[in-house]
């Protein structure tokens, strides 16, 4: 990049230079096609998969049930208070990006980012309607005649359909998909669903069809952050200028004396979705999608030169390569303290999450003592304490729980009388998958130690009634008495 001093006519703003990526085939292009099919497939199919959870629960395998504040993922059911699982997954996603970026550079940007995947899909449609690079450039330059209008309208129509499908699939993650499909077409779905689809369609259409590389260059913060994760060992895409330069045209039958391997065919530039020339070195626009490697390798094969004029390499190897020495094994670049540290953190959090998931109790129980008033004095001098219990039944079925209260002193425990507000007995029935609130009274008779003590630690127990593995839980609380 050459630079000049500012002049008075220097533009403050510049129009986007259109990019017309040329079709290419090769190793990296194939990999990108496979990844694209895989990721789009997951995105569109996942909400349609059914998973039987019994009559009381939705049968959609992956569902973010905002109305009932639940997240379903196959056999897992995450409640709002278990949001740390989601936080843990987000941290893992973050560390995973650190790991991949420090090892392989902007591999996320080049292969997996939705912006890249959908842009790739949009370019595929564009190429199918308008032809390859040269045809598209010609169409771009020609005046608005019937052909141009027809092709543009066809292309935009198809883009819009893809956008609609994208937005449509998005809302399926939040409501039962088959019901929603029906409601969407009969006009019975909620306004929120339609608005969400409209916004997702518009953004997909604008970002995939028109903004494209502008999103990566100007809007996305991630490329800027990634710079901090890369070092000299990071595998990234580079042009081996010591092999290619001085570049020059190759004429048939002539031997180009003193010329490098680069024949200045512009193949690498023509396929680049970011519109840059990799031969100018590392640039902030480069998303390391590998298409220039495919393009250059194809040319090198044709002119009978070795592949790899443009290829993945680590900056550390540059000096060795220039001198013609042996380069470091790629695994030595990838497996270094930094990536091992990221991997350890990533794996550690993953293991912790799995352990937490396995150890999760199907029952949640907590007790809040009533603080206004601290206690109720009965006419005969009995001291009553009131508590609010919350029982969360995470079983898939209705469960009966027995409630009891204990203190450290067995005699005092005997003296405690337990009453459930508004019902007989000491058991409560909690429907499947519900949070159940119940007020509870504990009475300590006149003259008892509990009634005469300011504050006594007690424990309230909840135990599943009936056969099967006995599930129980307890909560610490206090009994407030009259004493000082």
């Amino acid at each position: 990049m050459s630079s000049t001093e500012p002049t008075d006519d220097a533009p403050l703003y510049a129009a986007r230079e259109p990019v017309f990526p040329k079709r290419i085939s090769g190793k990296f292009r194939s990999l990108k096609w496979i990844l694209m099919a895989l990721m789009l497939g997951i995105y569109y199919v996942l909400p349609l998969i059914r998973y039987n959870r019994g009559p009381a629960l939705p049968d959609q395998a992956v569902l973010l049930d905002l109305a009932n504040r639940r997240f379903f993922f196959f056999g897992l059911e995450i409640w709002p208070h278990e949001f740390y699982f989601v936080a843990g997954l987000l941290i893992m996603a973050g560390l995973g990006l650190f790991l991949f970026t420090s090892a392989l550079g902007r591999v996320w940007c080049g292969y997996a980012c939705p912006q890249t995947v959908w842009t790739d899909l949009y370019i595929l449609v564009e190429r199918w309607v308008e032809g390859d690079r040269n045809n598209r450039i010609r169409l771009h330059r020609q005046p608005w005649n019937a052909e141009k209008i027809r092709k543009r309208l066809t292309k935009w129509g198809l883009w819009l359909l893809i956008g609609l499908a994208t937005g449509g699939a998005w809302v399926f993650y939040f409501t039962d998909a088959p019901t929603l499909v029906h409601d969407l077409f009969t006009g019975e779905a909620s306004p929120v669903a339609y608005t969400t689809i409209a916004v997702a369609t518009a953004t997909t259409f604008a970002f995939g069809g028109f903004a494209r590389e502008q999103m990566c260059i100007y809007a996305c913060p991630w490329p800027r952050i990634q710079a901090a994760m890369m070092d000299e060992d990071t595998i990234t895409i580079a042009y081996r200028e010591w092999r290619g330069e001085p570049r020059g045209k190759l004429h048939k039958g002539q031997v180009a004396e003193g010329q490098g391997d680069c024949i200045d065919c512009m193949a690498c530039f023509n396929v680049c979705p970011m519109g840059i020339d990799i031969r100018n070195g590392q640039q902030l626009e480069c998303i390391t999608c590998g298409l220039c490697i495919d393009a250059c390798n194809e040319i090198m094969d044709k002119i009978g030169k070795p592949r790899g004029l443009v290829g993945y390499m680590a900056l550390k190897d540059e000096a060795n390569e220039r001198a013609g020495n042996k380069v470091t094994n790629i695994w030595k670049h990838v497996l270094r303290p930094r990536t091992l540290l990221y991997f350890t953190l990533w794996g550690g959090i993953g293991v912790a999450l799995v352990v937490a998931l396995v150890m999760r109790s199907p029952l949640d129980f907590n007790v809040t003592p009533n603080r206004d008033p601290l206690y109720v004095l009965q006419p005969d001098g009995t001291i009553r304490n009131i508590y609010t219990m919350r029982i969360r039944n995470k079983h898939g079925e209705t469960v009966e729980y027995r409630i009891s209260a204990t203190t450290e002193d067995a005699a005092e425990t005997q003296a405690l009388k337990l009453t459930l507000e508004g019902q007989e007995g000491d058991t409560v029935t909690v429907p499947a998958d519900q949070l159940y609130n119940q007020r509870l009274y504990l009475d300590a008779g006149p003259g008892s130690k509990l009634a005469g003590t300011n504050r006594t630690d007690i424990r309230i127990w909840v135990e599943q009634v009936g056969e099967g593995e006995p599930v129980q839980d307890s909560a610490n609380t206090v009994f407030n008495g009259k004493g000082k």
Binding site: P6, A10, M266, D372, P373, Q378
Partner: protein, 297 residues
């Protein structure tokens, strides 16, 4: 293409340079400028369409779309009022003693009655209905006027000793025995000792036995022969552990000397038709709520 494309971009610098690092002067993308203009247009259009500019003394410009968050809230309230209409009609039509047997009504009165209680009753009786000195606890099993749902309902409806409501619960008043010269100071001291004795507290036995006579002559009409109080008169039980104003000698003396006459306002009373402080639905809901708090009979 007429010209060979050049891939080397000519980028200007600002002329600043630090240790050989130049500051580029890359132009911003033009669409960026357009988003800025669109935001300005949006801002102007929004302030025309929606309430925006404050106007002295009259709120704000209304906006041509007629949007109003107050109207939105009112619409939400009306929507829920309409949704609750069926259960409210059922509540009014149901016999008071039957409310606790209907889960739908229990659910409604627990929430709606609780809301009424926290709005209108908590100031005196406490948010948890535990009461304060002079304002009875509603969650114990001791009731001055009776703890049946009907009695609670009637007392909320017409209040206790509310001079504005002709149907109020008149209840006897504790006379001011000293101020009105009904008893001599020595007699008051004796009867206080007697009350301490019958409520199981430490008392001077000699004075108490003298006080028993004073009690029999002056107090039994309201508090009963056995001093256990009467719902008809609203006189409290003097033998139990619960005291409305306090059960120590000094407070009992003060009560006997100067009298007591607590007032609970009438909630159905209004200075004119249709101005009742609480509606029939609200009174029934809060009566049911209070009855369910553990003390109801």
């Amino acid at each position: 293409m007429s010209k060979k494309p050049t891939t080397k971009k000519e980028v200007q610098t600002t002329g600043h340079q630090w240790d050989g690092i130049e500051e580029l002067n890359t132009p911003l993308p033009r669409w960026w400028l357009w988003t800025f203009y669109i935001c300005i247009i949006w801002g102007v259009a929004y302030s025309i369409a929606m309430p925006a500019w404050p106007i002295f003394a009259s709120g704000a410009t209304p906006g041509i779309l007629g949007s109003s968050t107050r109207a939105d809230v009112q619409a939400e309230i009306d929507k829920f009022a309409a949704m609750n209409k069926a259960v409210e009609e059922k509540l009014v039509a149901t016999d008071l003693t039957e409310i606790a047997k209907d889960p739908e009504l229990v659910d409604y009165t627990r929430n709606a009655g609780g809301a009424v209680f926290r709005t209108w009753c908590a100031q005196c009786h406490g948010a948890g209905a535990g009461g304060n000195a002079g304002f009875p606890s509603l969650i114990d099993s001791d009731w001055l006027h009776g703890g049946t749902i009907e009695q609670i309902y009637t007392d909320i409806q017409h209040g206790i000793r509310d001079p504005n409501d002709p149907d109020t619960n008149p209840s006897a008043q504790m006379p001011a025995h000293l101020d009105d010269e009904l008893l001599e100071p020595e007699q008051i001291a004796d009867v206080v000792q007697y009350v301490l004795q019958i409520s199981g507290q430490e008392a001077d036995a000699e004075k108490a036995s003298a006080g028993a006579e004073v009690f029999a002559d002056n107090c039994t009409a309201c508090h009963g022969e056995d001093a256990k109080g009467m719902h008809e008169t609203g006189a409290p039980n003097l033998t139990d552990a619960i005291w409305l104003y306090g059960g120590d000698a000094a407070t009992i003396t003060k009560t006997v000397e100067h009298g007591r006459a607590g007032v609970m306002p009438s909630w159905s009373y209004g200075s004119s038709e249709g101005t009742a402080r609480l509606s029939e639905v609200q009174i029934r809901a809060v009566a049911s709520y209070v009855h369910s708090l553990g003390g109801g009979e």
